[in-house]
Amino acid sequence: MADRLSVIVVENDRDRALLIVDSLREAGDFDIHVIGEATGLGRRVKALSPDVVLIDISNPSRDMLEELALASGPMERPVAMFVDRSDDGMTKAAIEAGVSAYVVDGLNPKRLKPILDAAIARFHMFQRMRTELMETKRALEERKVIDRAKGMLMKARGVGEEEAYAMLRKAAMDQGKRVADVAGALVTAAGLLG
């Protein structure tokens, strides 16, 4: 086996791939390749013949890599296997973080650990970022709806912005709903009434 472990990262989001590569560089001296698209994934991985392949567990193309486990004939040394069976704890942590790792059978778990640790930390961070992004988007959408509802009330009732918001908030409290939901209902109703 060569001294440097070769690692393939399968990831089509360029920024994300770069972040993973960066954190792998920090974790050790690895020979890293990134594959961006699913087309011909199996063949390209096979051509590069890496020691480790990292892929997001939610990537449906992952099944293409399973084929490699058999590609060289199961009686010979498998090309790739799911994370070494010797360490269930590490595998479980990887799966929970959303990483699937394929490693050449027989690779020393000690050499794999820094790679997986880095990938797991990175994937956890992505999950938090995804959640934050979704929350932010939702908050923005709601803000827009509330602003529209406020505007409609100000026009219809001839009140100021603060009073319009107070009306929305009171209606929400009376009905046990969220301000955004009441505003949404108002905007929809106004849309229907023309």
Partner: protein, 393 residues
Amino acid sequence: MKGTVLSVGFIPLLDAAPLIVAQEMGFAAEEGITLDLVRAPSWSSLRDMLSFGRVDAAHMLSPMPVAAALGLGGTQAPLAAVSVLSINGTVIGVSNALAERLRDGGHDFAFNDARAAGTALIKAAVPTLRIGVPFPFSMHAELLYYWLSALGLPAPQNVDIRTVPPSLMAQAIEAGEIDAFCVGEPWGSIAVENGVGSLLLPGAAIWAFAPEKVLAVRSDWADAEPALLGRLIRAVWRAGRWLGDSSSNTLAAELLSRPTYLNLPAEILDRSLNGSLVISARGDQRDTPGFIEFHAGAASFPWRSQAQWIGLQLALRTGLDRVASVNTAEGVFRSNLHRNALRQTSAELPAASSKVEGALGARTTLPAESGRITLSRDVFFDGRVFDPSQIER
């Protein structure tokens, strides 16, 4: 009452129906359980989710737990198949270019004659046929190999088999990465709908009673939770019985089409449930009785002989010892657990747990554990039979 919550993984396919229906139509609630259905992105991730306890049970390709027991692919926790979820329901399709060559060669796309379709396909293929299947260990792959090899094209050696996830199959054929595919519905119909392929044959034309998907659990979980497992098996069996009644098709298609499940048009799902498929972009339609079966003919019963057939096929193409593989495979389909769970219901249970596969040319009534049971036609297209007792031990 919510009862005990069981998390169950599934892949968005028509044959996940028994699990979805068990939850949505209240069959799970009747047994005092709630199924928390988790949609998985790929078969390998679903297998890992089950192995590592992220889910309690899973929708699974019938050869997957057998392959795991034989040490093929990423081996983890031993898995048990406790019910068969569906019989058949797959289609073989070809690219537009290949369909054109088949038509030029005089093939009629009758959609019921595996010998004619296979012979025409081998003749029209240039130079090496590239075929997409959803997973290396799938009934799709086994049916293809059996079919092509029997017709003189030794497979998988002489074909280029590629793993393509079901939802990407239409895309792969459009991009010219594959010439043909074998995939579970509705993904074949989606390829037709997108105008990128034609359907050549239903899987049922190769083997009339092929166990397609199973309900899989971890073996240690099955042994530790017999009562809970019994409730799950009964809930899913009742869902299968409901699905087996064709008057349920419209509602079943609506349920499955929901965004959290398959997120696909109900109209397409309805076609496959009715066995009335549109096979080409020109709108040609073919009816296949028994295209997919959830109940009739003791469909849910996990026959040991089915597992043995799978074990033998896997051994033949991977070079494993045949006798040892067949013996190991037999223990993966847990006929007794299925029996124990259904004994207190009205289910007809066969007297034996193993049979000669491919021997029934028509519906046949046989003695059951109590009373009689009707089994469905189960022949292979080439008339061969698989008698597990004939495997030398």
